[in-house]
């Protein structure tokens, strides 16, 4: 079998011998030599100093209070947070003990473990667990694995400080029962191909490496059944596309990076022949890069699928992965740029290296990954994720289009959805998850019902909803089985970058094709988005083209009627959560300008007879005020074939503080569909200063060399390749 062959190549079938020998401590994350080097480097590298200062401050606070190891409590409650803080403090104390030699830190770990050694044997499965695999200290096993990873590192650091009796007590009362609970006693969670499984295997494997138990290590690497269906290595096979894109999206790869890197690092140090870092053409390197490369220019992850709006590369998980990758895969300026945004390093040799190399630079490197496309699915053939960028630094422009797989339980029905980042902000947003994470009064901080009824639905995204129904009727299994098809992605010309994808598998009988361009014209102050969303069907449908935004509506050319009382826009598929605030009917161009931050944004959509424009806002059918209230505009039209052709233009400047406003109107004045057929679409964009573009895109098979000539309205439009834009001024 392929799986077994790979394992053999890896040499991961480490025998008892390799671990049973005289084992140095610490050895899985930091060595005495690295600790000494950090001690010697203090005061030299600002980033290292900052991280050391923070670690010391953490422990100063910890020392100021008595150690508390309370009985288990509810998620988000005091006890839950206390146990989390305890493992953070133990890990910090263990590392500081090695770095400073100060025995107060070692005593702290010992004294806390003594309390756990009393408490843990009294515990059974946590009583408050709901729908999740239970832990004992925590309501879910996942938190227990987090605890074990951190505490194992701490234990490794104080191992030599402890007496044999203490070690025996901790291993017997806490570590071995916990590892067994997480692995052999709950093999379903342990062997699962999922980030929960990664945490479980990493924690048990790391413990095995510290205490010299090969069964734990082999369970971790190969799964409890050893048949290739589970375990850490299998997760490396299945959870990433060949490009390293993680199918649950960046918010989740962020979380999974920690166990992946911690365990890979521990194995690399104790069993280097296993070569986990090199496995699958360095898939762990690709996994990290796919995460930081999909981040917005300010380091925040686009909140696609179930994800928070604020998670960023500055999270401790990404700090760990950036530093280890920099060390293991070789220096890289973009990783230093990421480290500068993170403003933090890990406390081992890798962190020292990053801090040292960053300090040696005269100018802080800017993180800038350019435009990039990721394929999706383990085989890389299930659509993808396209990212077009223009500019550098935190104020770069970024346009993201999602055309990959559903993404399992955390996936959204959001295919052909896009988000747009400009001027340091997510301007056309993704709602992310409907969850107030860890806020106990909000359903214990868990996912809220509105996550299913709104956040996952198609209308919560910037993609067309057909007949006011969600893609695949919100059936997860159906949606998981299909994905859009990549059409083309071309970022070779900085003035006109383009990406395109299509599907006929998300709405029965409807073919959808979206081509998005990022265009830089010398007459415009910022890059603009050109969006051609084409739908074709044998029968007429109602097509809803939504644009979610934040901030304030400033102007629109539509003559709308504002509702005197508000009704929900619909009864299901997320429409029940939208208040219908105003609506208009028009045959001509639809323009709307809004203000977000210090900049204005205008969307201009080509007119078509009998088009409805709806101004809506989230917050309806929300009995517990769980939703965030935000506006959107929907352009709705009933048709068989429809091309929504739009331009989104950032323009002007507003500062309330300075009381200054410039160019609140924008340059683009009209978007006109000249024609659209199975072969291609042609659109004219016109505005002030003589701006006039002809945008031509191919709807048929992708080909960089095919020549096209289409005649609409008596005029022939010719181009070569997948797309062309005429009239752009460099």
């Amino acid at each position: 079998m392929k799986f077994v062959r790979r394992l053999a190549l890896l040499g991961v079938l480490c025998g008892a011998a390799s671990l049973a020998g005289a084992q140095p401590h610490p050895s899985i994350f930091i060595t005495k030599q690295e600790a000494a080097a950090i001690r010697a480097a203090e005061g030299k590298y600002p980033l290292l100093d900052r991280s050391l200062r923070e670690a010391r401050a953490t422990m100063d606070s910890a020392f100021a209070k008595p150690i508390d190891v309370p009985p288990p409590g509810e998620a988000g409650g005091y006890e839950h947070e206390r146990h989390k803080q305890n493992y953070r403090e133990m890990q910090t104390a263990g590392l500081l003990y090695q770095i400073t030699g100060d025995v107060r830190y070692a005593r702290f770990v010992r004294d806390m473990l003594e309390k756990y050694a009393v408490l843990y044997p009294t515990l059974g499965a946590h009583p408050l667990n709901k729908n999740q695999s239970a832990g004992k200290l925590f309501h879910q096993a996942l938190n227990e694995a987090n605890w074990l990873v951190a505490t194992t590192i701490a234990y490794d650091c104080v191992y030599d400080f402890l007496s044999p009796a203490e070690r025996a007590r901790f291993e017997t009362n806490v570590f071995r029962p916990m590892a067994s609970w997480l692995s052999r006693e709950h093999p379903h969670e342990f062997d699962r191909i999922h980030n929960h499984g990664t945490w479980a295997t990493a924690s048990v494997g790391m413990l095995g490496l510290v205490i010299g138990d090969t069964t734990y290590v082999n369970d971790a690497l190969k799964g409890t059944t050893r048949d290739g269906s589970g375990g850490f290595v299998r997760q490396l096979d299945l959870l990433f596309s060949p490009d390293g894109y993680y199918m649950e999206g960046p918010y989740y790869i962020r979380y999974a990076l920690m166990p992946f890197y911690y365990f890979a690092e521990a194995v690399q140090r104790r069993q280097p022949s296993a070569r986990l870092y090199a496995y699958r053409d360095s898939i762990l390197k690709k996994g990290l890069y796919s995460a930081v490369q999909t981040a917005y220019p300010n380091g925040v992850f686009a909140p696609i699928n179930d994800a928070s709006r604020t998670m960023s590369i500055a999270s401790p998980e990404v700090v760990l992965a950036v530093d280890l990758a920099y060390d293991r895969y070789g220096p890289n300026a973009n990783l230093l740029g990421a480290a500068a945004i993170q403003n933090d390093v890990i406390l081992n040799g890798a962190g020292l290296k990053v801090a040292r190399d960053l300090a040696a630079r005269t100018a802080t490197p800017k993180m800038s990954f350019g435009s990039v496309e990721f394929t999706d699915g383990p085989d890389g053939k299930r659509g993808g994720l396209g990212i077009l960028r223009s500019g550098a630094g935190q104020h770069a422009t970024m346009l993201l289009m999602k055309y990959g797989v559903h993404g399992q339980g955390h996936g959204h029905f959001d295919k052909l959805h896009f988000t747009f980042f400009d001027d340091g902000r997510e301007v056309v947003p993704d709602y992310g998850f409907a969850r107030w994470i860890n806020i106990e009064p909000k359903l214990g901080g868990r996912y809220l019902p509105e996550n299913d009824t709104y956040a996952m639905q198609t209308i919560a995204h910037n993609t067309v909803t057909v007949d006011q129904r969600t893609q695949n009727d919100a059936n997860e299994d159906k949606d998981e089985a299909v994905w859009p098809e990549r059409h083309f992605f071309d970022a070779s010309n900085p003035a006109v970058q383009a990406m395109s994808a299509r599907t006929d598998k998300h709405y029965a009988g409807v073919a959808e094709q979206r081509t998005m361009l990022l265009v830089r014209d010398a007459r415009l102050p910022y890059p603009v988005v050109v969006d051609l969303f084409r739908l074709t069907s044998a029968a007429p449908h109602s097509y809803d083209y939504p644009l979610h935004f934040r901030g304030q509506l400033i102007a629109t050319n539509t003559t709308y009627a504002r509702a005197a009382s508000l009704e929900p826009l619909g009864a299901k598929f997320g429409y029940e959560h939208l208040w219908n605030e105003a609506s208009a009917r028009t045959d001509s161009t639809v323009r709307m300008t809004w203000l977000d931050g210090n900049r204005y944004y205008s969307i201009t959509t080509a007119g078509a007879p009998g088009t409805d424009v709806i101004f809506a806002r989230t917050g309806a059918s929300d009995p517990n005020f769980n939703l965030i209230v935000e506006p959107l505009m929907i352009v709705r039209r009933r048709a068989s074939d429809m091309l929504f052709a739009s331009v989104i233009e950032p323009h002007g400047y507003f500062s309330e503080l300075e009381e200054r406003s410039t160019n609140a109107r924008g340059t683009i004045e009209s978007v006109r569909v000249l024609g659209s057929s199975a072969e291609g679409s042609v659109v004219e964009v016109a505005g002030k200063n003589g701006l006039r573009w002809t945008v031509m895109v191919t709807n048929g098979p992708a080909s960089a060399t095919a020549r096209h000539a289409l005649t609409f309205g008596g005029q022939t439009y010719s181009w070569t390749g997948n797309y062309a834009v005429q009239g752009v001024q460099r």
Copy 2:
């Protein structure tokens, strides 16, 4: 007459002789000696370097484009903004010419003035003026005065560089016609006791000082009629309370500080015997201090009356006043703290002194004005403004209560209104103005209809609305004629600070008394607000106690019904702008927790039979999407006598980025009215950790020594003075 006597004392009747002599240039804002000192200081003081760098960058951009002096345009349009930018650039260029000696700067001013000398004689009154005194370059005379102030400083700086013919041309074609237009040709605006009058007089007076025309100077100081009804000195008499509180509020004093200080400084330099800085017991010093002392700890002005939400002490007007006051009234650590927030200094000797003194400090001084009360009205007897503070630095707590005069045309019907600032944010906000200032598509950036229909109305504020009608039925003249009465203000005890005010002149037949306390208890992590709002009447009324907030509703103990469709809460007095999102009826304590930033906030209001709780949101009856959409809660009860007794408690911590939440529930559990009479009110506040306070306040005459003993429910409560809180743990 008192006015004439004052003028005589001042010696401001400056004769022609004093100006006609050989006049050095520049002399009204900077001298050659100061310029040389700045040149010598460059590189020594970070704040000065920063301001110089910014000035140079402004001019580098200006030099990169051709000079443009376009014909007049609409407010917020290109031409309008161009003329504003032109005067800023001329002033900057003039100062840099003096500081650097680089003649490119002087040429820039000359070349731009040449263009104005061609354009200005062709202009009549601006055609787009609406309801305001017209300028010629700008739609309103106010902007023309702004232009003249800045350009006069520039002219003074390049005076000696220009040829006599150039000077004659600029004075004949631009300066004199403009000064005449602003003064003798429009005496109503010029002689008005209003910040527009201050700008007009300052601009004309400054020009007079530069070109040696005593008529302009005397018109400016004494008004065109010279009868004591108008002019700069009269404005100093009437626009400030004796404490320096400016009756229009901090947003407007901020704007008025610039002409007040520019002209006072110019007169001080050219005619020091006038002693404007010393006038009225240093009223200009008090005016500045009243502004910075009413600012929130982060430097932003509380947006009371018509005001933006973001205006702060960092505005250029306050930078000017802080630096000049530091120079003229003597060094002050709080002003250095303000300068540190401003991160900017003016380019003259005063700015140099501030930058130098700040650089000499080892630690940046924190701006901390402590608790303070301002009286209102020119006689100081028309109510006031109370501010209670706890803590220091930008995260201090601040509670503000407004009980002064209406404040003329920009005043709101908001008496006994409060705002609350905590953790770096305005947590219980004032809506400020309904205006998108300078945003041309929003009614030319002017005040919007919703300013009158919503922002000014009582329900838009955190004060009780009676019978769903605005105070004094929103009649400005009626409201201008009355004001609340100060009751007491006592900030002597940092654990319990209190302020109280009352009125029976804002609702016919209803007496209102509000006592607010800021309480610091060792069992609570942050200071909490205790609010006792008492209403008495012979007849029953409907009392609405509102709390405006931002962020997300997290939990409430009320069993509310959420509306399936939304209706406005009423038809007038601002209620037409509120959507009724949910309502509940209860007889017991009302609790509501919301999340704002990284902290939770809970309000707990004492229960009373038949109380309605309404959750509402702005945005109804808003045809042009002009309003900002924000939530509020209203506690409504029909009664003759009513005491709304509430506690607002900040608690816990939430970070979505860190995925951490602690103490989302808070400590205070109940607030109970034990009794309320004409003599006093007694309220019990209870919570976790044995917290139990008895809050006793006096409703009768204020007296720090009177002894009170009230018996409610068989128990007698005794205290001495205006208030007492028992049970607070230090």
